[in-house]
Symmetry: C2
Subunit: 366 residues, 2 copies
DNA sequence: CTGAAAGCGCTTACAG
DNA sequence: CTGAAAGCGCTTACAG
């Protein structure tokens, strides 16, 4: 009887071998499914996926990177002012990357001139693919750099579909239209708009959706005041100030994101407007700030975490696709949702127009 | 002549084997040197070190974590931080984990009853260690669950050092004192305070630091109005409303975090106070909201990203330490910084006391 | 104090 | 479409 040496404890509970045994195939087949290789019988693939879920299996990044040149490092390059947006993005990306065994390297690049440096850092770390957020994914310069470096990139939340890049986005124009139609249904006829940053293509779409809904309702464009914002709280404050500079005041303001809408609420309060009694204000994106300010913002929910999860899958898929040289970049559209909260209400009666001077009294309930 | 199969390309240029060959020892000896084990002849150790330098060798994190018990999966359990705090935390943890080759699994648990579920999910994923944020790291119940599961845990940003857990924190009391002394130096004598959530131990320390600085300046405690907050924007609004309910108004408000301070600014504006001319308001943490609102908040910078990076290292270290059964949990203290921005200013002159009714005029610059 | 063997979990490079 | 063999770079668990 042979003396067996003590088996070393395995650091991982469930491995590719367990999944294989569960299905009754070889580990190789499981490996192929994980790596999205095409030469696996669809039924087998399904069985393997089911086993992966059942056993709650997650591939070991260490083993993958040691064994092969499997793409498992994903760069995430961002340049975004809203922190609520960022944490959702990170959470979603992290979640999916741990599920797929990929590793996400996050890098910020403030200016478009910094993109080269940030990109260089990611390349040096050996990324296999890149997730880009606006406005980076819409900058020809950044895109050229990415292409020159030979990295596969995809875009999250750009305005448009693209022939060069795989994209994941919502229909910004339809969403803005939905929100605007809701404001119209409340009886509003005098509108103001705080536009998003001009270098995000989604900004134009949001403005277009807003204007097209107004046009469909017979609101003359010249009665609509459009002010430029840049997606920051500060820019929202300034745009709102211009919007409320003189009469007739709008009864409803559509801001192209939540940060600017929150700023508009704050400024309106400071000027003595009651929200939503004197003035309705709506945002866009449904980032955490929308639910936390008072009154909470009516807005469009953009499923950022789900989109980030999808982005991790998509970039892996895209790396594979480009290696095979087949097909075209995928274009994914996620659903948006209108979220009605307290910052919007019925349009004030015409004779209420001038009564916005009342600051709240100490005893008011919040 | 045997037909040899093509050698697979190696992903690494110089390995432990090359170093061993260069010195004339076995790879094991090199491994021992790398891992700082004591049982290597000093001369051999020196030779190995020389070879490592000569060949510019760097160990492969993937191979180390695969082969050994080098822990590589870290759970991060969080409850309900402000989103600015969360994104900093994630960014820092991600950054360090990619550097060390560890993988971070993030899980949210809303209620303390949910901790078991979230923890179970992380355990099932095979985590080696756990990073806990307040108030989870201060809940006996959660701690008991963690201990029962046999996971090594550390705490980020708890109030106190601990005998059971390794911790990383700032000196909340000293930080609150620093901030309060700054407010005193501006001439303020009538104070209000919005306290943090009672189930965070740091909240008490912040209040203590505030009160002790006031006491040192001879301010009678009964002239100081303390209101309970819960770290949310909403709770800050309500506490500020109570604080400003009747005269004499405080000339300075210290809020235990930035979200509550931002809410206090918003409420003050709505009531017609000018900030900081009529009322100074300071926050704590220096999360992104502090710099984005107007006026930007004077606050204490808590280096959350650096603390999160340190947490990843610390949990790995702690896993190692507990396996060896040596020493005591490490207690790390990070430095805080007072950040002076526009939300605080000189105390108003006594005769200015009642002139807080002016809402801003449309032409004011922001 | 040192080393030969086995194996971590996965992949590549084959062969069917 | 599927699998057996070999190996990625390192460590553990032995035996000297």
């Amino acid at each position: 009887m042979a003396i067996e040496r003590q088996r070393r404890r395995s650091s991982q509970s469930v491995t590719i071998r367990d999944v294989a045994a569960h299905v009754g195939v070889s580990p190789m087949t499981v490996s192929r499914v994980i790596n999205r290789e095409s030469n696996v019988k669809p039924e087998t693939r399904e069985l393997v996926h089911a086993a992966i879920r059942a056993l709650n299996y997650a591939p070991s990044p260490a083993a993958r990177s040691l064994a092969g040149s499997i793409p498992c490092r994903i760069g995430l390059l961002y340049d975004n002012p809203s922190t609520g947006y960022l944490s959702e993005l990170l959470l979603g990306a992290l979640d999916e990357s741990s599920r797929t065994g990929a590793q996400v390297l996050v890098e910020r690049c403030g200016e478009s001139e910094m993109a080269a440096a940030a990109l260089g850092k990611l390349l040096k770390a050996g990324i296999d693919g890149l997730i880009l957020t606006p406005p980076l994914c819409e900058s020809d310069r950044v895109l050229a750099e990415v292409q020159h470096a030979g990295v596969v990139a995809i875009a999250v939340a750009p305005g448009y579909a693209s022939e060069r890049l795989a994209t994941i986005r919502i229909d910004n124009e339809a969403a803005a239209r939905d929100l605007t139609e809701y404001l119209l249904s409340l009886g509003h006829r005098r509108f103001g708009c705080i536009k998003g940053h001009p270098n995000h293509t989604g900004s134009q779409q949001r403005a277009d959706g807003f204007l097209s809904a107004l046009a469909a309702a017979g609101i003359a464009p010249d009665t609509v005041r459009m002010e430029q914002g840049y997606y920051t709280y500060r820019s929202g404050l300034q745009a709102a100030q211009r919007l409320l500079a003189d009469e007739p005041y709008p009864t409803a303001i559509f801001a192209a994101n939540d940060d600017m809408a929150a700023a508009a609420v704050s400024l309106a309060h400071r000027m003595g407007f009651e929200v939503p009694q004197d003035l309705s204000i709506a945002g866009f994106d449904d980032t955490p700030i929308a639910a936390s300010v008072w009154p909470a913002l009516t807005t469009i929910h953009q499923p950022v975490a789900a989109m980030a999860r999808a982005a991790v899958d998509l970039v892996l898929e895209e790396v594979h696709r480009q290696r095979e040289g087949t097909g075209a970049p995928r274009q994914l559209l996620h659903p948006h949702t209108l979220i009605v909260r307290e910052s919007t209400g019925p349009a004030p009666l015409p004779d209420d127009g001038g009564s916005h001077a009342g600051a709240i009294a100490p005893g008011d309930r919040l």
